[in-house]
Amino acid sequence: MADFKEEIAREIQSNPILVYGKGTKDAPRCGFTLETIEFFNRFGYPFEVIDVLENQPKREVLSEMTDWPTLPKVFIGGTFYGDTDILEPMAASGELAAKLGEAFGGAPPAPKQTINLH
C-alpha cells in the first residue's frame, strides 16, 4: 500500500497533467478515458495517461486518496480534479486555462498544428 502511495506521489509530481485511466493514450480501453484524452488534446499541453485497468491494488489506493471511486482520475499540478464532469465546466468558465497555465509555469500551450492545403 505504502509503495503505491509513493509511486502515485511521484507520478503526480512529475506530470503537470496526469490521467489515470483504462488503457493507454494510443489504445484507450474505456469510452470515458478516450473522452478525457480528446478533452486534453484540445488544449495543446503535453499530458500523460497511466493505465491502471489491470492494477486493482493501485486503483484502490487511488480511490481512497481521492475519495473518488471511478476512472479516469485527473491530476493537474499535483491536485486532483476528478474527471471531465468537473473539467468541462472549469473549461467553460476559463478556470481550467488558468490552472493549466499555472501547472506549466506560465508557458503557453503548443500552437495548434495547421495543415495547408494547396
Partner: protein, 78 residues
C-alpha cells in the same frame, strides 16, 4: 445492473433531500447519466459535490452494479 429506484434510494441515503434524474445511457442499466439536485451542495466545490454522490454510490460502484456515471450536480435553493 441496478434498478433506477435502487440507484435513487442509494443516492438519498447520502443526500436525503436529493432530487435525482436518471437516464440509462446504454440500455444495460449500468452506465447512467445522473443529475442530482440537493441543498447539501451549497457552499461546496464541484468536486466536493461529486464526492458526496460518489460516497453514497461507493458499494454499488465497487461491486459492479454501476459501471459508470456521468454526473451533474445542482445546488437546490431553499
Amino acid at each position: 445492473m441496478i434498478a433506477d429506484h435502487t440507484l435513487r434510494d442509494l443516492i438519498r441515503t447520502g443526500l436525503p433531500d436529493a432530487d435525482v434524474a436518471i437516464q440509462d445511457r446504454t440500455g444495460t442499466h449500468d452506465h447512467f447519466n445522473v443529475t442530482v439536485r440537493s441543498q447539501a451542495f451549497a457552499g461546496k466545490t464541484l468536486i466536493q459535490q461529486h464526492q458526496l454522490v460518489y460516497r453514497a454510490l461507493k458499494a454499488a460502484l465497487a461491486d459492479g452494479r454501476v459501471h459508470a456515471v456521468e454526473l451533474t450536480t445542482i445546488i437546490a435553493e431553499n
